[in-house]
Amino acid sequence: MSDTIEAGHGVASAARKDAPPAIILDKVNKWYGTMHVLRDVSLEIAQGERVVVCGPSGSGKSTTIRCINRLETHQEGRIVVDGIELSDDLRSLDAIRREVGMVFQSFNLFPHLTILENCTLAPIWVRKMPKAEAEALAMDYLRRVKIPEQAGKYPGQLSGGQQQRVAIARALCMKPKIMLFDEPTSALDPEMIKEVLDTMVGLAETGMTMICVTHEMGFARQVADRVVFMDRGEVVEQGPPDSLFENPRTERLKTFLSQILRGH
C-alpha cells in the first residue's frame, strides 16, 4: 500500500508514513484459558491512517483493539501506542488511555448523567479542565455530531443512533490522537446506521487516526486507507479496500465476503 493511492472514493488519506507509527502491534498473542484468541498479530498503523478491521465473529478483531487500550491484556508480544509501550505500569496506562478514545458497540453512556455531563466528566476529572471550558468543548463536539439540543437530557431519552453519536462526542472531548471503534453500528436499527457512519466519515475528514471494527463495507471503501481481514485470531490479509474486496487472495476472505453479501 502506498501513499499515492487515493483510498476509496471519498475521504483523502491523511496517513503520514514519515512520522513514527501511531500504533505498533508486534507478534501479539492472547489466550482465554486454553483458547488461542490472538495468534502472532502484527500490525503497524501510521499517524492519520484509517484502518478497518473485519472478519467473522470470534475472529479476534474486537479483542485486538481492546488490547490497544488495555481493556484486555495480552500475554505475549509488544504493543506500543504513541511511543509508549503497554505494560503493567499504571502511569503508562493512564497516558495511553488519555490519547486513545473508544466507542463501543453498546454505547455505554452513563445513564445517571446528562448528555453534557457524560461529555464533561473525563475532561474535568482526568484532563483537569475548568467546568465552563469543558462544557464549551462538549457543546462544540455535540454540535459537530449534530445533537446540541439534547445536552440536558439523559441517555435513556435518546434513540440508539443519537446515543452512539453522543458516545463519539464523549470520546472526542478528551481530544484523543487515536480513535477506536468497536462495531459502532452493530447494535443499531438500519435507519440509524447512516447517521452514525456519517459522523464517522466527518471525523475521518479531520485526519484522525482511526481503527474501526465494522462490517460496513461501504464505509470501508469510502474512508479506509487499509482493510485488515482477521480470522481465527490471525491477520489473514490486508490491503487497500478496493483491491482486497475485488481480488481476495485467500479462500477465507472469499468465504467471508460471500457470507457478508448473503447476510445483507
Partner: protein, 402 residues
Amino acid sequence: MSGATADPRLAAARAVPKKRMRLSWSDPALRGIVWQVVIVALVVLGIWWLVSNTRHNLEVRRIATGFGFLWREAGLPIGEHLIDYSPTDTYFRALLVGVLNTLRVAIVGIVLATILGTLIGVARLSKNWLLAKLSAVYVEVLRDLPLLLQLLFWYAMLQGLPGPRQALHPAEGVYLSNRGLKLPGLVWEPAHGWALAAFLIGLVATYFYRRSALAKQMADGRPRPVWPAALGFLVVLPVAVWAALGAPWTVDWPALRGFNIQGGLTLSPEYFALLLGLVLYTAAFIAEIVRSGIMAVQLGQWEAAQALGLRPGQVLRRIVLPQALRVIIPPMTSQYLNLTKNSSLAVAIGYQDIVSIANTTLNQTGQAIEGVAIIMGVYLTISLSISLFMNWYNKRIALVER
C-alpha cells in the same frame, strides 16, 4: 366487578349514555359500590363483634382499661438502662428504658451489619477464589438458619465461656467471660464533650470546605486536595480543644477484683449475643444486596469509564456507586426495618428491650390490649421513620430517566 378496567377510556365510553339512570346489576359503577359496601360492612361488623366481646370479657374479668397504669410504680428491675432508672420509677419510664434499649441494639446493629455485609458482598465478587467461596458459604449458611436459633446459639456459646476468674483475655483490657464482654472505657469529662462538639463542627466545616474546593476546581480546573483541611478540622481542631481544656485522659481499665471484673465498659451477654446474632444474620442479606447492586452495573460502564482515562477510584466513585446505590437502597431499607423488628427477639434471651418490658408490664397489670398496643405503636413509629427517611434519600438519588 368489570368496573376495574385497566383503560380509563373504556370506562369513559361506558359512562356516556347517562340519560338512563336506571339501577341495573350490569352497571359496573353500581357493582363497585355494592361490593365496597358489602365488604366494608363485613369488616365493621367483625370489628364491632370483637370489640363488644372484648368489652364484655374485660368487665367479667374485672380488667382495668386505659393507660392509667403508665403512671404507677413499675417495681420491675431492669439490668441495662441508658437513662437513670430504678424499680420505684413508673411503668412509663420503664417502657422508655425499653425503647432506648431497642434503639441501642438496632442502631448499632444497622451500622455494623452494613459494614460487615458490604465487606462480604464485595468479597463474594473477589478475584480470589478462596475469599469468594468463603463468603458464599457464609451467606448460604447464615441465611438458611432461623435467627432465633442463632441467637440462642450465641447466647449458649457466651454462657459456656469460663467465669470472670478464667476470662478470655485476648488483649490488654479486653475480657470475655460468661458475664459478658468488658472493654476499657474512657472516664467522661466535660473536655471530651467539647472535643466532640469541635469534631462535629469540624465535620460541618469539612463539608463546606469540600464544596467550595469543588466549586473552585470547576472554575479553573485545578484540583484541590481536601484531605489537609479535613485533617485539620477533624483531628487537629478537636485535639487542640481537648488539650486546651487540660487534656484529661483517664482510662477505666477493667480488672479482676474478687470474683468479678470491675470497671470498664460492659456489654452484657444478652446484649452482646443479640447484637452478634442480628449483625451476622442481617449481614448475610446485605451482602447479597450489595453483590447484586454491583453486578447490576454493566461491565460496559466500567470499560467505558476506564477507556476515558478515569482511575479505578474515580470509576467507582463517579460511575459505579451512583448506579449501584439505586439498586441497593430499596432492599437495604427493608433489611434495616427487618433488623429493627428482629431485635424484638431479645425477649427470648432476656435482653430487656421494649417487647420484653411491655410483656412483663402486661403480665403484671393484666392489661394485654394496652401492652400489645404499646409494642405495635413503638415499632410502627420506628418503621415509619426509617422508611420515610429512606424514601427521601431514595428520591434524592433516583435515576432521572424519562
